[in-house]
Chain length 467, copies 2
């Protein structure tokens, strides 16, 4: 059933755009109204638009700008902060038809792609040429590269290889008024003008709509050695994290799973983690000294109180272990309702963060699964509760807020990789302070003076600079 | 002799600032009117101010803002683009009294410093703790970390370790109106809000005055193996560059010196480069497989036509070789007047760039020394000429422009690491195009609406966004 164009605004929009790229069918639109976050608001858009080219994106933005319609851009909708949630009367711009890898230059190690390509397809295309695109967010198999850039996505690679933004050389993006901007370069270095590329990376659709991404690739890494260390409790694992994080050997993977998470994974897909295990660290080294490095990492785990440490060079075993790690979130989600946090603290404050999370779980009488990127200090404490129980939902929200607040108190940030979106808009102001917040508003105003791009995300209304 | 305060503006400024931080003595002021660039304009400032704290920087900016006085910020004045040249009636804000390293956190591998600290002192402080701050611009022994951040300085490390901006976690900066802004974080990751840190890195004093820098350090590297390869001509070296740059082994140093540069170095400090050598590549590997890697790099050089290839693990020898490389610019400067370029092209276009530089030298009948960061495609063609000869100076300028234009034609950038400053303000527009230029102006307006910060640099007058 097609939703009748029931407003003059929709009429005007439809008149400006090719019919093939506008969807108003209520049932189909429903699949585009929110991302994967919980506790974030969403509302009914006017329409979903699915441009097939940069020129069509520009057409959409010119029309939206002219008629004062908000534009919420989305990739796969796998975000966890509400950054792609529709607002009332907006258009949702889905990039899923911008799905071509445009070029791979193997000599220069550059890949140019449209934003709607799934990230694992980018990685596979690089791998087919013997090259490596490191960023690997948990959603790598279904999120799109455009969404990864818009949120500056992370993943397990970051401890050694850095985040998405570290691989973005340049962008094509459409401005709020429909003009097409090119930023950055294809060269290894370049300092001509302001770093517009880095400003757009992580800007969550609030400054421009990304239509093309130029990525830097690196040579394929060596086969890794994997260390699996099991600990009686979270705090011993925390000690190992602190020691390894300040040591000279930088692992290429450095992940933590706690007891709650391990049990959830076991329930979903038995992986051999028994009930006695309090926490697990998964470490890899893919350097030329991987053998020596992995032995060293194993020794540090033992010294911190690991009850069992295994080093393996079996690729299949390593793959299964990382697959088990990737089940952490879906496995916790399967246990009931959930509220996922994404705090990041200085690495030497991780033990203290873990201690505080235990306190919060105990004080609020909630179950909290803790997993995440230990080597970066980036943890995903996940509150699991029963949605039907109002008291439980309130306690979950309080626990979430207390953990986020603890990260700030420990000198950390409210979001390591998921972004602010709508979920943490109120927290952004607390982290930034008044002056940085004013600068954010002035930047928003400079790029999007009428505020059509992703209205409400980051809590940013454009405001002109004081002068 | 003290310059009498001959204008009401100077009177007003002096009334607002502590006398100890204002210098109007003509002779002393003269040492602060320009950087090390050639062919860039400079004029007489009202005064030089030397704040001793962030609060005093804020005081200077409030006063400048109130009285409409331009503020040109400078570190050591070693820049090569005119970015620190005084304009008529401005104040020059020198950061040389903001010269303290405030903190080194060895567990977290974070160093916090004021901007006026010399970069080699930052590196030494890190090294004293067994840690490494990679960026090493040619000026490392005398440039300041604040200037390095303001220009996003590079150096020999970049091919493996990246540029200054890759190590800046956060900043404190004073806005045009005197408000104090904090950006970034101390954590390994963080995506809360826009990347103001990266926007300030490389902004050449046009958006804010940097008063504190939080740097990320890395574990100290292993002792490197060094490869010295000599080639009969530049084009054989270019072939070796192209092959190595697209190969799987990433060197930690990858530098080129041509015949003109080698002769100049020999004249300044004999280093054993004989007259027959057409070009030299200096490569290092500091990875765990340095022995294997350096042998592989040596073989690639031989295959490309090197006449002599030596591999060494002697630290002293390697140090002397890199010292000789660092003499390239001073040695060329000693040969007469000079005009230094800083173009960067995709690595697989280096051979073509070198070919075009030879053509330009021949067509304009000028001597051009070529050296630079081969692994990044970042070359410093340096035109050497006789200042007294008007025809020669004109030919030098034409040669410079033709080389810069060639870099753009080859898909490169007009500046790989020296910045736009005043030297390349006209080129910036050509590289950016109209839309990116408009965005630059809107950003300048958002940060500095009255245009007091480094007026004229990048050719940017603030202009409000269209809406």
């Amino acid at each position: 059933m097609t939703q009748p164009p029931d407003s003059s605004t929709l009429h005007a929009l439809l008149a400006d755009l090719p019919a093939e790229i506008v969807t108003t069918d209520r049932d189909r639109v429903l699949g585009f109204v929110r991302d994967e976050s919980r506790f974030t608001a969403h509302d009914s858009p006017l329409a979903v638009v699915t441009p097939r080219s940069t020129a069509e994106v520009a057409q959409v933005l010119r029309a939206a700008h002219r008629h004062g319609i908000g534009v919420v851009t989305r990739g796969a909708g796998s975000g966890l902060s509400g950054g792609a949630n529709a607002v009332a009367g907006c258009v949702v711009l889905s990039t899923h038809r911008l799905d071509r890898i445009l070029e791979i230059d193997t000599a220069e190690r550059v890949l140019v792609t449209q934003p709607g390509v799934v990230t694992s397809d980018v990685r596979a295309a690089a791998a087919a040429e013997g090259l490596f695109y490191p960023p690997d967010p948990g959603s790598v198999a279904f999120s799109t590269i455009g969404g990864n850039v818009a949120t500056n996505a992370g993943g397990m690679c970051c401890v050694k290889y850095g985040v998405t933004g570290d691989y973005v050389l340049g962008l094509e993006a459409v401005l709020a008024d429909g003009r097409i901007l090119r930023t950055g370069r294809r060269t290894a270095k370049g300092v001509a003008g302001y770093d517009l590329t880095r400003l757009l990376v992580g800007s969550e659709g609030t400054l421009a709509v990304i239509t093309e991404v130029t990525l830097r690739l690196v040579p394929a890494p060596r086969a890794p050695r994997t260390v699996l260390a099991t600990f009686p409790g979270l705090l011993q694992a925390g000690d190992a994290i602190a020691t390894i994080a300040s040591g000279a050997v930088v692992p290429s993977v450095f992940e933590l799973l706690d007891r709650v998470t391990l049990r959830a994974i076991e329930e979903m897909e038995p992986s051999g983690f028994d009930d006695e295990i309090g926490a697990v660290l998964i470490l890899q080294s893919d350097s030329a000294s991987a053998a020596e490095d992995s032995d060293h990492l194993a020794q540090l785990c033992s010294a911190a109180g690991a009850v069992d440490v295994a080093v393996s060079e079996d690729a299949q075993e390593a793959h299964l272990l990382l697959q088990a790690r990737r089940l952490a979130l879906p496995a916790l989600q399967a246990r009931g309702d959930w509220l996922l946090d994404d705090v990041c603290v200085p690495r030497n404050r991780i033990v203290e963060l873990l201690r505080r999370i235990e306190e919060v779980a105990s004080a609020e009488q909630v179950t909290i699964g803790v997993f995440g990127h230990a080597g970066d200090g980036n943890m995903h404490p996940t509150v699991v509760f029963d949605e039907a129980d109002e008291t439980g939902a309130a306690a979950a929200t309080r626990a979430f807020d207390r953990i986020t607040g603890a990260a700030l108190e420990l000198g950390g940030t409210v979001t390591g990789e998921h972004g602010i979106g709508r979920l943490k808009a109120a927290w952004l102001g607390r982290e930034l302070g008044d002056v940085a917040r004013d600068v954010h508003r002035a930047l928003k105003h400079a790029w999007d003076p009428t505020g059509v791009l992703n209205p409400g995300v980051m809590g940013l209304a454009p405001r002109p600079v004081r002068d």
